[in-house]
Homo-oligomer: 325 residues x 2
């Protein structure tokens, strides 16, 4: 990420007045924090900015400033703007139907994913912990913008969520340096963390309980897994989304190298999430079942019953693991 690129974008902002800001479906803390931070910053410069995402917003981010001003995309909506920002999207297609609004408008692509193919007319890319980190750097270079509690809260939310509160290995000295600056504007970190990490529905706590009670471990103690069936979702009144973070539990078992979550998304379709701790590449397993991902986080979908998916994946992992050890 170069200062030249930042300056090109700042010139574009100065020359234009109306901006569309969009981002990916399945919104999370980094894209919502980045979108609202940029919107507030543009408004400080006297610009107009409309935020549109082709999805509904999770209630857990209701504390974000101006989050209620993000519009959910609707067919045939008309939006008047000069220039479009696409934030936190490694793949242009992740903006979904917002594409219909863009025609041949100039696109500024700001993203931190390593595989972003520079699809914008202008691209501000960087191998940093969160897109919010790039938005912070952009804003910091614009003299007219004064950092304030609202913008700082939005950027902090992006940093906190995409680093698991500074626990993941993507956290750098720069990430902490930026948080140090943001905290001077009275950001309520404890509140952000309570909302995004520490607030659950009754149904999701019940689901967690049932799932942990039935945690399975192989004889070697290196593979642990949990299962979420449609029946279990019904019994506990929970949803598939409630099961999302549960794969961290089998992985957290002392001595375990590979943690697996089997989710029966519907009858005959099982979504498998694979995680490893240190040395085993779980993407190899995912590939064998037509899926993909990274060495330490991968996934695949198996069209079979829960028990058959479990048997197939666990036996494949055991075989591969015996060759590694």
């Amino acid at each position: 990420m170069s200062l030249k690129k930042i300056n090109e974008i700042i010139n574009l902002i100065r020359k234009n007045n109306k901006f569309l800001i969009t981002s990916h479906v399945s919104p999370d803390g980094d894209n919502l924090g980045s979108v609202t931070a940029l919107k507030l910053a543009l408004e400080q410069m006297g610009k107009k900015a409309v935020m549109i995402i082709d999805d509904t917003l999770p209630s857990s981010f209701s504390f974000l400033p101006d989050i209620d001003k993000i519009i959910s995309y609707e067919s045939d909506m008309e939006v008047d703007f000069d220039l479009c920002f696409i934030l936190d999207c490694s793949d242009f297609k992740r903006i979904a139907r917002v594409e219909e609004l863009l025609a041949d408008k100039t696109i500024i692509n700001i993203d931190h994913h390593g595989d972003n193919p520079s699809f914008g007319d202008y691209n501000l890319l960087g191998d940093v912990a969160a897109t919010a980190e790039l938005v912070y750097q952009l804003i910091s270079e614009i003299e007219e913008i004064k950092m304030d509690k609202e913008i700082a809260t939005a950027i902090a939310t992006g940093l906190i969520t995409d680093t698991g509160s500074f626990r993941y290995s993507n956290t750098t000295a720069q990430t902490h340096q930026i948080m140090a600056d943001l905290l001077t504007y009275n950001v309520n970190t404890a509140k952000i963390c309570k909302e995004v990490f520490d607030t659950y529905s009754y149904a999701s706590l019940k689901l967690k309980g049932k799932v942990l009670e039935n945690l399975k471990v192989d004889d070697s103690g290196k593979v642990a897994w949990i299962k979420v069936s449609q029946d279990l979702l019904k019994d506990t009144g929970s949803t598939l989304e409630d099961a999302d973070g549960l794969v961290d539990y089998p992985r957290s078992l002392a001595g375990v190298e590979i943690g697996v979550l089997f989710k029966e998304v519907e009858d005959g379709t099982v979504r498998v999430s694979l995680r490893s701790n240190y040395y085993f590449s779980v993407d190899k397993i995912a590939h064998q079942f037509g899926g993909g991902g990274h060495a330490k986080a991968a996934g695949c979908t198996i069209n079979d019953t829960l028990i058959k998916a479990e048997d197939a994946v666990i036996s494949t992992i055991k075989k591969e693991l015996s060759q590694v050890n």
Copy 2:
């Protein structure tokens, strides 16, 4: 915390050669990180430092540099030293039997607890997130000491554990500033966090499952509680220590103000942990049962059966809550 006090302590270090470093029983990440960081720093200055704590050490901190060199106190042990550092103890008595070694030796008291009565001959106190933050400041003022990966890892462990990885409200801009500096020495934050926050025994995950399955909520949805009986510990093969962090779960239920954990520590003795989120002062409840604590975290011990303790505490909370709302 003044530079004058730091300089007095630096002079003492320079004039002496053999140091005892001690800290509180029930060791945690902050006291173990502070003790090992200071020991490594003193050794860099060519000094001798022996670390003694009157307790066994939890295995979760085995990644700390030189943690294996911390000696567990033994009666009638003989230790040759000029000067004693007591770290992270708000109350002198928390060093337990290590007191027997001190006679009339000079004591340097370094601590971040607000209620520390300055019991040392020299006192380096500060209202900061962790004692490790004070050790960092002390070390930073000593020219002869070069920060390195080992010292940085020890200090980072103190900051990470005492702030819940920067989630608690004690986290300040300075805390992040220090972490930014520490991360330039290749501290493996992800590994520290994995060890201290994300590694559980099979028994403790089973206990968590059972406990969550039986989570209770009152009619208002504002009080939630869980119970750990001796039978449950036996059934799951878990220990009382495995139950320690569980009080965060009832508190994490959406809409809940007060979370309670009832632990049957032995037949007829129930330890009650109380937590609140925003406005209710749980120490009021604890006081009514002969306990104490702070507004958002308090506790008491009730000499009765689990079911009677549950009835008494929950009905008292409901009564108090009805007066607040």
